[in-house]
Amino acid sequence: MAMVPVSLSADPLDQSWYEASARARLDGLVDPGTFEEFIGPEQRVMSPHLPAFDLPRAFDDGIVVGRGRLDGSIVLVAAQEGRFMGGAFGEIHGAKLVGLLRAALVAKPAAVLILFDTGGVRLQEANAGETAIAEIMRAIVEARMAGVPVVGLIGGRAGCYGGGGLIAGTCSRLVVSEVGRISVSGPEVIETNRGAEEFDSRDRALVWRTMGGKHRRLIGGADAFADDTIRAFRDAALDQIGRAPAFDLATLEAEQARLETRLDRFGDARDATEIWGRLGLNDPAAVPGLDTETFDALLVRLPEAPRDAR
């Protein structure tokens, strides 16, 4: 009889990160019973703007922020709910994350963890969302300079798009799963603006090999690759906190070199598989089908490991 290749476990830690709600991800991520929410749903702090658009609101405006313990250490955490308004940044949504990051300067947690799940700016509150993203990036940099690692976890339904992609690029370390996507313009937006010849958004294999977790990990756009389980993200987050680089000139110069090298080496590539081939993968076409274990093993064997200065 065939073995069962898919987890049928009911343990919350074995549940799919992609499928879990923002609250379920946080509950499983931190040590059991340690999560404490700031401005919880009972406070009903909801968007003042959505009613004008005849849209329903959420008690938490699509983001849960709070404090918990990770393997005993105190961490500040934020989780976006990708199913509410695509996890987009509105005024309150953004301000909750701004506040959390500013608090890190005082509270000095072991890390701030951001569980991204966002399409970017909430258009109904565009100016507030856009400005909040700028505030968040500034606050992340300040937290990092104060020695607090900011780790982003990406594997939700909405991916990490628009301003969310820029915030992710500001974090100390990023963990991504296969289904995770990191990008600025989404496939539909590019297709709308430039046509299906530029980007056929319905070709999902193309979407994932252009923006998906494996590609981001391979080119150094993310620092760790996790299975799509809450446990895997928890383990990866724990591991990455200790590896966070300082935020200083040396780090940014290294990132400058990393990004310039990428342009030189891959600037003329038409497709991700070309890049993977040049990275030294023998069978680039097989990459999307690899399981995590094989993929991680392959990363280790690469002639040049993806560099992570950020």
Binding site: V6, Y18, E178, D203, G212, D291
Partner: protein, 548 residues
Amino acid sequence: MTDWRRQRSARDERIERGRAHAQGKVVAAASVVDLLEAVLLPGDRVCLEGDNQKQADCLARGLSACDPARVHDLHMVQSGVVLPEHLDIFEQGIARRLDYSYSGPQGARIARMLYGGQIALGAVHTYLELFARYFIDLTPNVALIAGVSADRDGNLYTGPNTEDTPTVVEATAFKNGVVIAQVNEIVDTVPRVDIPGDRVDFVVEADRPFYVEPLFTRDPAAVTETQILMAMMAIKGIYAEYGIRRLNHGIGFGTAAIELLLPTFAERLGLKGRIATHWALNPHPSLIPAIESGWVEQIHCFGSEVGMDRYIRERPDVFFTGSDGSLRSNRAFCQTAGLYACDLFIGSTLQIDLQGNSSTVTANRVAGFGGAPNMGSDPHGRRHPSDPWMKAGEEAGGTGDPALRRGRKLVVQLVETFGDKLVPAFVERLDALELARKLDLELAPVMVYADDVTHIVTEEGIANLLLCRTLDEREQAIRGVAGYTDIGRGRDHAMVETLRSRGIIRRPEDLGIDPLDADRSLLAARSIKDLVHWSGGLYEPPAKFRNW
């Protein structure tokens, strides 16, 4: 003196005219229009092959490019109205009459054209019925079919998607018709001969491979808790109760949920080997976990499914495969199997009325029914017993000598009380009746008639219509599972409770099911990727279903 060979001579003349555009039997893609204009005559009955899966799309494009002055008033007799060209030809005057079976993606446009009088409609058939008429009164003059490859003698390899081809060719080639096949490539030797060359008059090397719709792929990621609850009820309250081993599933998410619960929920109930072992079914990717877990003994298929070919090749104990190793499907045989050799059909619908008649035709959409009216009917010609069939017959009761009582096929409607946009599935009167009135149809397009349906499963419970003894009981049994629709809220509460005490209505709790247990963690696969893992990498889903 009577000429008994007029049709034969006419056929020979058509072929002769066509040969001018061919080298032997082989025709270049660029010459398709010339070929069709040479072979076709005004008023011809034409079968343009296409169903809910594969399409003779190169020939469809060619037909729609014909000069309506030369080719016009065709009578199309085909399974599927699926491609835009299938309807373009009616707008252009190339075709006039239509007898068909399925029109899923063109449902809205075909409705507009019917209302607009651009199509003279014969009937909306079930597949097997249309096939039957190919041999009696709708025999094609010309058949335009699709295959994977052919040799220069016309020997045809249809590949895993054989589907309607043998039936269409049988009716056309042996009754003085002309058979034109499009193939993806001309080869020296075909991998296996699905259609012998002497039945194929022309072979067109198509400009691109024929289109196949992955209609039977349901992404487990989209299965909802409600669908899981309904699947749990169906398994426990019907499959286990009657011991259903031979069956057919529709294509909805509800039946996909059942397939995904077999190795988990049903396994825990100890049902392995006792239910769901023999299938008339397309190769549903969502059945992979059950197959891999040893649930399934064999499956005969109407057609194939995109991405399943390698998997099927590696599981010849389960699927019907040819000497070349690839799937052999056959819609006519599989529909026959679904009719006579299965004890249960379970599928979904868009509307059910108070008696249990159902239809997927709504005011704006005429989707056709494909195989559902066939599989969802009680075969009165059946003469072999089986436990589920006999048990259902017993429940249906009836007067007269019990020794002369026959069995009943179980025909189950699996419907959520509200569909998309909160449209209720339960209605006083089917939209199909209004459509029939407006179009002046003699027969309303009903998918499954009330006297064929035996059970209705909704998220609220199961109604066993076999046990109803009066029309009033039947109506209240339906209202009793119709949830919060107007029909459901219009129930006689006392009578519904009486029906429940008689086991005619069964709620989840009556079946020992807690709705809160209906969780996605019960699904053996929660994503297409999980299905790929279950298949050991053999299932290769099309790009639109991937998120990796």
